[in-house]
């Protein structure tokens, strides 16, 4: 229509040059689509490999070998005075009972050295196991009942097939003798595989079969609570102020640039800051979720501010004008309309920030949350560790049995992360609005 300069000259859309051009364009599109598809396939394959390898190594951490043996809760050992006083029951020599039980089950074992091997069949936690049973139910005293002993970690590994029988005896941690005892128990059906509730209910331990992630989960929980309580209000308020109230000038530009830079600062630097500020200046307790949470809050703040600002900016100006036009003040406009409308986006950003914080290890190393902590933390100032640090600690342990614990803990951590991210997606889907 506009091309009036060359009247009469018509484009020949069927000419070989143009057809070649079309074919070339179609090839380019196909090529690009194939490249994109292969990129996705490669990424998925990597992810699948990762998940399968962790799940393959880790699932056995959720099971545990138990050895069933008849235990005589001898009154003479546990409560010679017959008072049933709780303190006496607590202090009794349950180790002797465990040893007696093993000796009775395997009467042929005589030599000191063999006996030591024999006693290692069950976990070092076996006396505690018996003590807890007695404290729970003092009527057991004087009775003989079958008890599921937690197997020692080597036997557990052997039972799970990680220690093969066919390698020379010198090369494996489980000796022929122990295998014979194990087989003997197995023959009478005294070997059981049960769900490993210890793994989910206890804290860390030097003994792999007694180690659990509950301490780390509690630590992570307290830490994240602190992180959320600090970073969410401050982050959201900063974002609202910067978006809705602050004048646009060099100073606010500088703040904006710095917030974006902070989001890219390596997390270990935040750990150093936390160390300097919270421990050395404020003298807060070392290794505590309070300090961990504060440190992670510093790290999460930029993420939350950036996500919140984006969410606030996405609220159309027409809504602000509508409210202002009705005589709402700026603050009323921000809190009655803009904030509720941007809340899904803000929450999504917050959850993603928190899930980053949940997976963070480096800054916590700096403030002493890397310590070996057996007790389950009961509050914000108790010494604690967190899931990723627990994984780090276990991955560092030499015992074979910690390999599966490490992978098991990774599975649990991934589970939490997937749960949180799914929550973020759900929130976004649920509250998504059309204007």
């Amino acid at each position: 229509m506009t091309d009036t300069s060359t009247p009469g000259k018509k484009t020949d859309w069927a000419s070989p040059q143009l057809l070649a051009k079309v074919a070339q364009r179609q090839r380019a599109e196909k090529r690009f689509r194939r490249l994109g598809l292969s990129a996705i396939v490669i990424a998925l394959a990597m992810l699948a490999t990762l998940l399968f390898s962790i799940a393959g190594k880790g699932y056995s951490a959720f099971y545990q070998t138990r050895l069933v043996m008849d235990v005589t809760f001898s009154e003479a050992v546990i409560d010679p005075k017959g008072t049933r006083n709780e303190d006496d029951l607590r202090a009794a020599g349950y180790g002797g009972i465990v040893r007696d039980t093993l000796r009775e089950t395997f009467p042929d074992v005589k030599s000191r050295k063999d006996l030591r091997e024999l006693f290692a069949l069950v976990s070092k936690g076996a006396p505690m196991q018996l003590r807890d049973m007695v404290l729970d139910n003092p009527d057991l005293i004087g009775q003989t009942v079958p008890v599921d002993f937690i197997a020692g970690d080597d036997i557990d590994m052997f039972n799970k097939g990680f220690i093969p029988r066919d390698v020379p005896e010198g090369d494996r941690r489980v000796k022929d003798m122990e295998i014979a005892w194990f087989d003997q128990l197995d023959a009478v059906g005294a070997v059981k595989m049960v769900f490993n509730s210890t793994f989910f209910t206890s804290g860390d331990s030097r003994e792999p079969e007694l180690a659990g992630i509950w301490g780390a989960i509690s630590g992570s929980f307290y830490t994240l609570i602190v992180t959320f309580l600090i970073s969410f209000p401050i982050g959201v308020m900063s974002a609202i102020y910067l978006e809705e109230f602050a004048p646009q000038n060099k100073f606010t530009d500088l703040i904006e640039v710095n917030i974006n830079n902070l989001a890219a600062v390596p997390s270990i630097v935040f750990g150093l800051l936390g160390l300097a500020l919270f421990l050395n200046v404020a003298h807060l307790p070392r290794s505590a979720p309070l300090v961990g949470g504060l440190t992670l809050a510093l790290m999460t703040l930029p993420t939350i501010i950036i996500a919140s600002r984006a969410a606030i900016r996405a609220v159309p100006d027409s809504i602000r004008e509508a409210a202002l036009g009705l005589g709402a003040s700026k603050q009323q406009t921000a809190f009655h309309h803009v904030l509720p409308l941007s809340m899904p986006g803000i929450l999504t950003g917050t959850i993603i920030g928190l899930s980053q914080a949940l997976g963070e290890t480096a800054p916590l190393l700096m403030i002493g949350m890397v310590a070996f902590i057996v007790d389950i933390p009961g509050g914000f100032t108790d010494a604690a560790t967190v899931l990723p640090v627990q994984i780090f600690l276990w991955a560092d342990s030499p015992e074979r049995a910690f390999v599966e614990k490490t992978s098991g803990a990774i599975l649990v951590l991934l589970g939490f992360l997937i749960f949180m991210n799914a929550l973020a997606v759900l929130l976004r889907k649920k509250f998504e609005r059309r204007w």
């Binding site: 027409s318 602000r320 004008e321 409210a323 009705l326």
Partner: protein, 266 residues
């Protein structure tokens, strides 16, 4: 042109001016958007502001309820009085001013809340009603006045954004009415609507004239001719001509007005 504008003013002097703008200039940063605009808005009449895009008519409208204050870098010079009081005086609370001078926007912008909450929002923040019953009444009368009540009375709790475009715009008008303003500013209220919805809104605007002073910015000269009593023609940030609508459309004094209303430019 200043002169012409002044000349036309006396003809409508018989009606009391509720808003009076004197030598109003508006700057966005370094850019001047309005240059020495003088305009009297008669009470209980419909005044329409017409002119090509970018001529400053919306800018002028937004000066009247100080919506320009929210625009970064915007500066207003001159004097605008509402009932004799300078609205840019330091002691004036611009938030309260906006309650007295309501505004309806180009694109229907109901809050993504229920129809009821949309209308009730203004009375709620200003504390205009004492109890729920009173609020209910204000909401229903406002919807009634906006001619929307019949269509929505069974679904007051449905979301306002689910209405059709025309209904949404009437909801916005009802929302503005609920604050009981004296003046309603309308910034091209029909430009996003189909002809039937437009006709309904125009009807409504004419009904509202009885109780409110209405200033409407419009791109449609037919609309200005149909509904308004007074028309001001803006061009390049100045008022070229202002006068009775009939006179301005049938017998414009200025060549540019003539050119614009006959469609030669704009």
């Amino acid at each position: 042109m200043q002169m012409l504008a002044d000349v036309t003013t006396p003809e409508i002097e018989d009606v009391e001016a509720i808003i009076s703008a004197k030598d109003v200039s508006v700057f966005y940063g370094d850019k001047q958007a309005l240059n020495n605009v003088n305009l009297d808005i008669p009470a209980n009449q419909i005044t329409s502001l017409i002119g090509p895009s970018g001529c400053g008519k919306s800018t002028f409208l937004r000066c009247l309820n100080r919506m320009n204050d929210t625009v970064f870098g915007c500066r207003v010079e001159g004097n605008i009085t509402l009932d004799g009081q300078d609205i840019y005086a330091p002691e004036v609370d611009e938030v309260l001013l906006r309650a007295r001078v309501g505004m309806v926007f180009q694109k229907p912008n109901p809050f993504p809340k229920s129809i009821y909450d949309n209308v009730a929002y203004g009375p709620r923040i200003h504390g205009l009603t004492r109890d729920k019953d009173e609020l209910d009444e204000v909401v229903l009368t406002s919807l009634e006045k906006a001619g929307l009540l019949k269509e929505v009375k069974d679904r007051l709790n449905a979301t306002g954004t689910g209405l059709s475009g025309g209904q949404q715009q009437r909801l916005c008008i009802a929302r503005a009415l609920a604050v009981q303003p004296d003046i309603i500013l309308m910034d091209e209220p029909c430009s996003a609507l189909d002809p039937i919805a437009t006709a309904r809104i125009e009807e409504l605007i004419e009904e509202l004239r009885e109780n409110y002073t209405i200033i409407i910015v419009t791109h449609s000269m037919q609309q200005a001719a149909r509904i308004s009593q007074k028309t001001a023609f803006f061009h390049m940030g100045e008022i070229v001509e202002v006068g009775d609508t009939e006179q301005l459309f049938t017998n414009p004094r200025d060549d540019r007005t003539q050119g614009y209303i006959t469609g030669r430019f704009g």
